[in-house]
């Protein structure tokens, strides 16, 4: 372990530890169990999940709202830090926007098991009913998803440039190409940021 902030920042880009692999394995098992449960529900109908005509909106819509609520929290955190001009906000903003993107995607995806006939989901786009609140929910969530991705991706540009510029070998070809793509067009001075101790993971927001 080193206390050099630059090396510490780059540690996640190195070789993953055994504990990390175990965590991925355990969480992957949870995901697999969820997929199996969903297939069971698709074959048997939503009744197998305990839904009935009296409780017709239950855990799935609660999950949707919970995850989208968490996502909005991410946006609020980064907005407050930005508005109050906190100079130390960079790593927190990155975390907050990352959380926002991931949770809004999970929240939106949970709509799929929530509806009874997911194979017709395309109709929501193809023949929307403009008087339906659900349609405008959909529009709002999609707008928010797009904005979150933009707010997440824009501050990544200088960091990706810094990573790609100085550590291409350490990253391997796949990541190197990805970071090159994300940082494409960045003509700032990543060196300045990298050489400044403690700001190797800055955020331009």
């Amino acid at each position: 372990m080193t206390t050099n902030p630059r090396e510490a920042s780059l540690r996640p880009f190195g070789k993953p530890s055994v504990r990390w692999r175990l965590a991925v394995l355990a969480l992957g098992a949870v995901v697999a169990a969820g997929i199996v449960a969903w297939v069971v529900q698709l074959r048997g109908g939503m009744g197998v999940a305990g839904y009935n005509d009296h409780a017709f909106w239950a855990i799935y819509i609660a999950d949707v709202i919970t995850f989208i609520g968490v996502s909005y929290g991410g946006a609020v955190v980064s907005a407050i830090l930005r508005l109050t001009g906190a100079t130390w906000r960079a790593p927190l903003t990155r975390l907050a926007e990352g959380t926002a993107v991931v949770t809004v995607l999970i929240g939106s995806a949970l709509i799929i098991p929530h509806i009874g006939n997911p194979i017709l989901l395309w109709e929501l786009l193809a023949r929307p009913n403009l008087s339906a609140p659900v349609f405008w929910d959909f529009v709002a969530v999609m707008t928010y998803t797009f904005a979150s991705i933009v707010f997440f991706a824009l501050p990544l540009v200088p960091d990706m440039a810094a990573l790609h510029g100085g550590h291409a070998k350490q990253l391997g070809r796949g990541r190197s190409t990805l970071y090159k793509f994300i940082s494409k067009g960045w003509v700032g001075a990543p060196k300045v940021r990298v050489d400044e101790p403690g700001t190797v993971v800055p955020s331009s927001t």
Partner: protein, 282 residues
Amino acid sequence: MQSHTPSPDEGPAGPPPGAAPTEGPGLSRRNLLATLGVAATGGALALVSYRDEAQASTKQAGPVPKKAQHAWCMVIDLRMCDGCKVCTTSCQTRHSLREEQTWIKVYDMEDSTGGTFPMPRPCMMCENPPCMYVCPVGATLRTDEGLVLVDTDSCVGSRACMAACPYEARYFNWTEPLPAKKMPMPNTPQMPVAKKGTVGKCVLCADRLPQGELPACVQGCPMGVLYIGDLVTDVAVNSFGKTVLLSEFLKANDAVRFKEEQGTNPRVYYILGHGQDLGGEA
């Protein structure tokens, strides 16, 4: 529907007059933005007017559209109802429904003396149906004759309609539905064949009405409680073949509608007995 329908080629037209005073070679930024704005507005207008036209065919100002030949309604004479629930079972037999899928459900209501009285509740066939407005894909429709029906071929199963219906008259196919034995017919909104993951509800036996036949519940009722009526020809008839002049029958017996305060304008009329009350402000 007013005559403001934009022509289809209005949207992506060139720059609007006066939008870009300094025309350079190629597309200036202002020019591009103006064009995009016009295109977006035109597209939105076209979409809105499409919905307007779709609704104009079903939603009319008056209770009965002029072009409709019938306006189906139901009269329920609670004075005669003994709560035997034959209406429910006849309906379930005809539509191959499960026991809990009570398209016409008999509730126990409390009267002013503390006793209970049975009250059958079919779909109210609202003139202003909330279920239709909240469907995200427009799978609920209202015919000229005032029947609120579900197109199960486009139902995504969002169950927004179930949340919207003040009468809890909608039932979901939570599991694989029972096979439709009695009806070897194609699936239509008038005579739906139940499909897993879609919603179902009372259709007032819409396939029978044009043939002059009674809905299953009306036909099955041993007490003559249920009347099927037509607001256009102003008649109603029950299982005994008792035919009444609808408007006079409703007026003479002080008919009321369920949850009138919701503004749904239901087409099911109740005739109350002594001390009976449907609640609400009706």
